[in-house]
Symmetry: C2
Subunit: 167 residues, 2 copies
Amino acid sequence: MIVRTLLAATLAVAIAGAALAGEVPPPAPNGIAFPQGYQDWRLIAVSHRTDNNSLRAILGNDAAIAAARAGETNPWPDGTIFAKLVFKDATNPNWQAATEPGRFVHAEFMVKDAKRFAATGGWGFARWLGKEQKPYGENADFAQECFGCHTPVAERDYVFTTPVILP
Amino acid sequence: MIVRTLLAATLAVAIAGAALAGEVPPPAPNGIAFPQGYQDWRLIAVSHRTDNNSLRAILGNDAAIAAARAGETNPWPDGTIFAKLVFKDATNPNWQAATEPGRFVHAEFMVKDAKRFAATGGWGFARWLGKEQKPYGENADFAQECFGCHTPVAERDYVFTTPVILP
């Protein structure tokens, strides 16, 4: 009886752990769902910012990659999603002149839906902080901060990044 | 008759162009075949080198990604291939503190096969230059240059890059 109880308790803990590991982060305050599977998206570009010492990988979902390769990027088609993965600068201990990804800062996303996000240039903005993937923003207004920063590139469909074309 | 000849000539040019566009670059001087489809591989890491002002994206084939996610990276398993895509630094015209990919310099690859490449730490090295994807190296000895540079990280299975783990 004790063995059975212990076994049940162990199983319960194991199942709770598994659920936690597979848990989907909560949606952003503006209702954008966490884009699951973004880790498998393909390369759009990379960048390095010296104003906040961060390295970035920009990935795209299938719609983004197809549009980038077809050169149909102004405007980007509905369904496009970009993931920008931001890491603090670190020095490669074996190559001092190389900056490599340090602490993971956040994953941020731009989701194109001209109708749904008409108020912010046709793009939905969202960001999840750190390894805990905590949604960024107190309420839906946070997206105005993102949109404000992207307004100077309105003529590029609000996108700073130029996709790389790999030969 | 003239129309038919012109049509045939036009078609011949069009077909030659198509063949050129789909052409596979020649193998490296050490016999390593060009890894077709690398453009669709997934993210291993990014880096920025200040000694030669270049931004890099490091991608991995399925074997590399599986090993990275499982933490089985010392040694990396046979079948692992990394692609390092190197771009000259450029300044984002709309964000002066951001470095973005400029001219495409080369794609270089590390292919793990402990037996085949036993003489160079179990890794085959190859590089294709520029958009023309010209194989690098006069003869098979070029790989000694690559291996020499990677020898200081022998205890990391000759790999400088640490794969990022995306939450």
